[in-house]
Symmetry: C2
């Protein structure tokens, strides 16, 4: 019974994700699902991306947290559409589901959007199980978390296309081996696009912005 | 149907946790459930605790990860009983359940143990939902994760008795407000025992060791 129910939940989620994918294809809107541990720096990364791309593209944000709307408040200065999902209000879910994303997209005007960023709940396990209909998954991994996270949480890294190795400004103060983390990422996902960056200082963000810029264009020209 | 099944899962888990609690009371074994984000430093904290207490007490470890036995291997030098739970092998669970803890305890010789440490899966959400029959929950929060995690993940901090604010050796290099994180912890849990420490340098561990030493003694004298 338990397994049947879980299967139903996953199947319903995947079906809705497929519907989202079809809508975004038609509307030529590029969407990413940004995931990572609590405190890895996802919101600061999102903030940097908006800063650089908001003049060129129309961006909307879906923010998810168990509790608080802190992240939305941090991003409010950009004056772009933001919807905050607070899972404490309905079952303390540890991940975002596609039906919630669909509700958010219904609320946005997709004809006027180019780029949607979902900032998922800080969690390296559960969000990886739920397809959201996005174009790509992006993991933000802070180098303070250690080199072994990709092999410890393989599904997250295996299903993502991009890893942003964040907080490299702290490298001089950590006993952290950059080659080792890259090797671990490649072990679970040989194709991963890897960026080394610091959202705090802005280092490495030219390449990241350039990458997303091209991906948004690709989607528009499809 | 879904809600019914989830209720069944939680009820079965709580029942088994109660059984564990009764057994540990009878055997006078002190057990903690150590939780925290991926890469917050739980294993290094456990390592430090074993180092300081293994001459005085008989300790056993339950290590849980989605994938790899890296953490057990790190602790193997202590030559104490360690059981590794790898959830990738049975459903990629994002948390430890009490039935698994019971199986581990069956495997240990409880008559010869004083202290069991469960290192839960790196996750600030799901593990908080599952009682394990322990004497107390301990959260390891790295200061690199930011000040707002206690209010973002309130159940974790509300149900724990101790927070170890780890990696304080990085304080000079971070824009981190110690008063703010303490205020946030107190908001969700006014009774929280808070330690500021660095598992990397050992700073703050005298107080932590002293605290657990007294708790193990209290359990023995009950």
């Amino acid at each position: 019974m338990e397994i049947k129910v879980l299967k139903d939940i996953f199947e319903a989620n995947t079906k809705k994700a497929d519907e989202i994918r079809a809508i975004l294809r038609e509307k030529k809107v590029f969407m990413i699902d940004m995931m990572g541990s609590p405190g890895g720096g996802k919101t600061t990364v999102v903030d940097k991306i908006i800063d650089s791309l908001k003049k060129k593209y129309k961006i909307a944000i879906i923010e998810a947290d168990v509790s608080t709307s802190n992240d939305s408040e941090k991003l409010a200065r950009h004056d772009i559409p933001i919807i905050q999902i607070e899972t404490n209000l309905f079952g303390r879910e540890c991940h975002v589901e596609s039906s919630w994303v669909m509700k958010c997209l219904d609320d946005f005007n997709l004809d006027e959007l180019d780029f949607v960023i979902i900032e998922n709940i800080g969690n390296l396990v559960c969000p990886a199980e739920f397809e959201l209909g996005d174009d790509m998954r992006v993991v933000v991994l802070s180098i303070t978390e250690g080199e072994d996270k990709p092999v410890k949480y393989p599904l997250m890294f295996n299903t993502s296309k991009v890893t942003i190795l964040n907080k490299i400004d702290l490298l001089p103060y950590l006993n952290f081996d950059m080659d080792e983390v890259v090797k671990n990422i490649r072990t679970v996902n040989p194709e991963m696009k890897i960026f080394e960056a610091s959202a705090a200082t802005g280092k490495g963000f030219d390449d990241i912005i350039d990458f997303f810029d091209k991906e948004i264009q690709k989607k528009k020209n499809k």
